[in-house]
Amino acid sequence: MQKTILAKTGNEAMALAMKQINPDVVAAYPITPATEIVQIFSQYVADGEVKTEFVAVESEHSAMSACIGSCAAGARTMTGTSSQGLALMYEMIYIAAGLRLPIVMADVNRALAAPINIHCDHSDTMGCRDAGWIHIFSENAQEAYDSMIQAMRIAEHRDVRLPVMVTTDGFIISHGMERIDTLPDAEVQSFIGKYDPMMHLLDIKKPYTVGAINLTDYYFEHRRAMVDAQNNALKVIKEVGAEFGKKFDTNYGLIEKYQLDDAELAIVALGSTCGTAKVVIDKLRKQGVKAGLLKIRVFRPFPAEEIARALENIQTVAVLDRSDSIGGFGGPVFTEVRSALYGSAKKPRIAGVIYGLGGREIDMEQIEGLFMDLKAGQVKADSVSYLGVRD
């Protein structure tokens, strides 16, 4: 199978994946830094390169509402957004998941106002981590492209039937040009298969009701069923990732361990920072420092057991959060990783580190400095600190 090597930004890569998926409906409203995804896609529509019905709406709330309607009507449905746009969708985000509609959304992670800011942090998607969506982070444009294709399969799997958001880091990935391997259209189509909506509102032979009220008698049961779907997704994401690897040579799982098995010091991170950390780890390993990385690719469903197993033999771990739960005990990644380790017989000294809010640069020197602090025992266990802030 011939892959084509192309120079693509993260946004271009995600738009290309959407083109090759060729969904029935895309409803979207532009927002920096995700604008290009739907802008490029709308050009594909205008040029007749896809058969998609493109719905240009007046807001993101309407975008997700239109996606919910089209998905319930039986159409394979996608959208893209970022930051304030995702925040405006918030009401509909919960509804999409609760109605078990397999919508796939590209989100370019960007800070939430105020103060107004257009740069990367993970506050936007972390804000809807409890909504029931599957949440996949990307280290680079290649992963964003590959994950968009896998997301369609994961969302539509009969044991899952939940919407999926695939994210990239704003500007760092979305606007950074990279070399990516792209697949032929036919291979993408063959991988995702034909969409079977199971039930759809345009089926006039089987009329049914979507969105009925559930009060004290049934609401709880429906939310409980979503927990099972998320648990099923742990298995399905690995199966789809392994099949992708078998066909296209790159395996995907829930987490990625980099130099972790014999590591004494480790960091846990999401997204593009993992790429920076790998370079630092290579350098430190040459100096004899046993440094490693645990990259969390899938934040929902949260792979608690895999994370606990991967970290329980490490001496000291710093968990990097590119968003904060202001007033909470650390960022969302720290609180969940630390909670996952609570039941382990052996557990590392663990600290939370908030970094990179509003696009604040994280560079190799800072990550190396963090490893050095871990090595020197200067990071206090069970504490939360702020890396790169002026204090």
């Binding site: 109605l99 039930m199 009925a212």
Partner: protein
């Protein structure tokens, strides 16, 4: 209502997988006024039957005979649309009294 189901027995996403189930739920109990039918003023135009949002106008052999008060919400659309006979309405809304 029948016995409550367990969560694994439910349809995906709270879908109600068959049609016509509204008849099982009596939605008329929060009505504050009710339509009262005066057949002597009725010309059988069936406007009330067409306009009723709850399908609560009862027809027998194509003729209006009255209202299903288990499902009538008392919105008054039927009375509003009713042309009556010689400007006298065949449907008049009256306050519900407890």
């Amino acid at each position: 209502m029948s016995e409550l189901k367990k969560y694994k027995e439910l349809a995906l996403g709270g879908n109600i997988e068959k049609s016509g189930t509204a008849v099982d739920f009596k939605t008329g109990d929060w009505r504050s006024s009710r339509p009262v039918y005066h057949p002597e003023n009725c010309i059988q135009c069936l406007f009330c039957w067409v306009y009723c949002p709850d399908s609560a106008v009862i027809l027998k052999d194509g003729q209006v005979t009255g209202f299903n008060l288990d499902h009538c919400k008392g919105c008054g659309i039927c009375a509003h649309e009713c042309p009556g006979k010689k400007k006298v309405k065949a449907i008049v809304m009256e306050e519900e009294v407890k």
